[in-house]
Every structure is written in C-alpha cells, then in structure tokens.
Symmetry: C2
Subunit: 259 residues, 2 copies
C-alpha cells in the first residue's frame, strides 16, 4: 500500500520506517514541525514532505495520523483526501468518530500498544496493534496493514482501547517515572544504578507471573512505620517526592496484605 503520515513524532518515526521495511511505500509526511518532518523524510526513500493537509491532488491508499491527541480535532477538520482513502488515527484514547468529519474518507483506528522513543530502535513484531473500523472492508484493510508488522492484531472498540490505554499509562509511563526517581536518588547518593538492575528485573519477572498485589514486598505492605518515617525524612529536600512516597504507601496498604 502507499501510505502518508500526518505527524513526525516518535510514533510516526517508528511506524513509517517499519511499514516501509515490510514492503509498503511511505510516500508523504506532513507535520507542523518541518525540521522533524525533513529528518523523517530522509529515512524514507520514497517520501516527500507535504506542504499542507490538502491531499486531494495526491493519491495515497492510507493516511495514518500520528499527532498528539490535542492536535487531532484540528487535523480531522483540515484534512482533505481523495474519495475512498483509508484514514486512521493512532491514538489510544480518541474515539473512532473523531475522524467522521473527513469527507469521502473510510475511517478507522490503528493503535500500536507500545512506548516509542526515537533514540531506541524497536522490534515491532512483538507489539500488539489494536484496529477499529465500522465498515468491514476498512477493518480488513487495517488488519492486513497491521499483520504486515505483527502477529498480535486485535480488533477493539473505542471504549476498550481507551481502558487499555489508561492501564498502559500506569504500567509504562508512571512506572518509567518511578524508575527515573530511583535513578535520581542513586545519583544524588553517588551510587551506580547498575546495583538496582537485578532487583528491577526480578520485580518485573514476578509481576508477569503472579498478580503484583499478591507479591507486594517492602515497608509499606509490612506496615513498617519506622522505615517509612526514615524514608520520608530522607526525602525532606524533595517535598513532592515525600508526597508521592506517602500516597503510594497508602495505596499499597489499602490494596493488599503481606505474604
């Protein structure tokens, strides 16, 4: 298929190159950020940077919209395509009907459930892709596109996708932030973060095998107030981390009992 991308951020960066590598032809990139659009065009032998969202003179089988959710309404309003073009957004949270204003388009959702950073190469074969469309032929085309990247293709309605995305924010975005805090604390103590890697790996391995609530360890679940108070005192230079420590401790104590 010939594919046009709207957006040039982390998702567009990885998705466009992976689709190009599996035999599709990414022919155009549009982005408000012309610098990142140009950088991405350079990675894609058949692509040019598009000057606007008026694509009525440009043939493309598929338009994939990979922009921040906040920018999606305006893109949906301004985008013009040739009749019958498949237009899909890649958002975890936004409903399918966001795209219904696009005249003549067949619309859908193409949501890769992964965290994308330009600085780290990514194997998309292990990534679940959630697709959604009202029309059967549109759905089939999205499934086909997804299957060219991964075996893990799921059809999910907007409500389901949104719930999955919320769970993903806790499991990925918030977890990453806690790992960042942990590294910050190690750095402040002039300690190497390698010391914690076996612990982090075991934590994740355990959480994959059993419900995390059932294998919770640490001072919070043991109601070990001496340690909790010591830690809160150690964080006194970081009041917002004290608050976070306190709230996470409370949350652990309300959801489980020690082994």
């Amino acid at each position: 298929m010939t594919i046009t991308f709207i957006g040039s951020g982390n998702v567009a960066w990885h998705l466009s190159q992976a689709l190009q590598q599996t035999g599709h032809s990414v022919t155009g990139i549009f982005s408000r950020n012309t610098a990142t659009a140009d950088a991405l065009v350079q990675q894609l032998p058949q692509a040019t940077r598009l000057p606007s969202l008026y694509l009525t003179d440009t043939h493309t089988d598929v338009v994939l919209i990979a922009v921040p959710d906040a920018a999606l309404p305006q893109v949906a309003q301004e985008l013009q395509v040739q009749p019958g073009t498949l237009v899909a957004h890649t958002s975890g949270s936004q409903p399918l009907h966001m795209l219904q204003t696009i005249a003549g388009a067949r619309v859908g959702v193409f949501y890769p459930l992964q965290t994308f950073s330009k600085s780290k190469p990514l194997d998309l074969e292990q990534v679940p892709i959630l697709v959604e469309a009202t029309e059967q032929d549109t759905l089939q085309q999205l499934q086909q596109l997804a299957h060219s990247l991964t075996d893990k293709v799921h059809t999910a309605a907007s409500g389901t996708r949104r719930q999955l995305h919320l769970a993903a924010v806790f499991a990925c975005n918030f977890t990453n932030h806690l790992l960042g805090i942990s590294q910050q604390l190690l750095q402040e103590a002039s300690l190497t973060n390698e010391l914690l890697q076996p612990l982090i790996q075991e934590t994740i391995a355990k959480a994959m095998q059993q419900h995390p609530y059932s294998v919770q360890t640490g001072p919070a679940i043991r109601h070990d107030q001496i340690v909790i108070d010591t830690h809160l005192q150690m964080l006194q230079q970081h009041p917002h981390l004290q608050e976070l420590y306190h709230l996470l401790t409370q949350s652990i104590q309300r959801t489980g009992t020690a082994e």
Copy 2:
C-alpha cells in the same frame, strides 16, 4: 560455616536455603511465628526450630537476623550468643549500631538487594549483597559468606545502604504496585494482561539503557490535557487512583520535557 537464622519470612526463606545449598550448614531457626519456622525447618536437613533467643548453649558461627525492621530492636535486646559469634542483620534501612547491645558478639550487616517472595524461586547469583562491619576480620567473614552466593559483593556504610534501600523502594515496591493497579484496571475492563507485557518489557529495557527521565512518554510529558482529563474521569470510581494519577502526572511534568 554453621548458621542460625532469626526470622522465617521471605528473606530467611530464600537466604537460608541458598546458603545450605552452597555448602554451609543452617542449624537453627528461631521465629515468633512457629508455623512458618517449622515449614522452613522442613526445607533444611540440618536445622531445628529454636525455642528462644538465648543461644548461649548453642554453638553457631553466624547468626543472621531477618526480621521486620520494627522487630529488630527487641531482637537485638533479647538475643544472647556465645562470645565471638558473628551476628548480622539483613535490613536495608537499619544502621550497624542497632546490634551493639549484643554482648560478646562481633556484629555486621548482610543485606541482599532483592525482592523475596516465598512463592517464586530465585537465583541469588545475580543479587548484589551489601556487607558492613567495623572490625576487619568480621567484614572479611561477611564478604566470604556473601561470595559463596554471588560475585556481586559490595562493602557499604549504613548511610549508603539506607539511600540504596530508599531508591529500591521506588524502583521495586512502588513499581510493582503500579503494575498491580494496571492489572486491576485491565481486569475491571475484562482484558487480558498479556496485552501489556511487550509494553512493560520495552519500558524496562529502555529505562536500563537511558535515563528514564530522558525517554519519558505518555500524556503527562506531552501535557496532553484532553487525555489526562479523560483518564481522571475514567477513574472516578477510584478516588485514590485519581489522586495518584494526578500526582504522578504533576511529578512527570516537573522533571522532564518531551523528546
């Protein structure tokens, strides 16, 4: 060496069996919880359950104290050993001098930096062990004991160990809790948690390679208020999760900028 354990919880469970398997002889277990002490004794061919903390009639080279931090002061007060016995606690937070009241003992710290659950077997070879002692011969004996389990033996003063433990609470205990919340949200939406496993694995792999703050993704770092508001609304049945979502979002926004 002949080793006696005070405590029969998760740490004593794994550490005693690992030491027995590497050629040491675990000869005694004392615990206020006689049921778990008996269960552990059954795993250790040379061990008996000890009736009290008065070990003056019992020869043992090493006593390892693996009890909750809150119980440590009382154990340190009541424990009596033969002169010259090495007594070490296994706590991340408690200082070495907690044990100075034990008459005639050579005292130290033997802290394995790992999360222990009885329900999951564990390979201790990858686990860092932090040791501490004032006397050189005591330190050497603790290092020798640790080296029988792992190559990753570090000498660390109480202050350093305490800072490492605090970082570990964020990286392990709090991270595990967030993964639990994520699974709870999936269950409430009748979704399988397998869908999130590639995302979690990539999150951790990325955080091991680069500073997590520098690879933060998601609605918080993008300041995508539409998604944030949607998520907060979806959590309205769980006010404490709303509060946690809000605080973690704030914390992400103060510590980084989007890629």
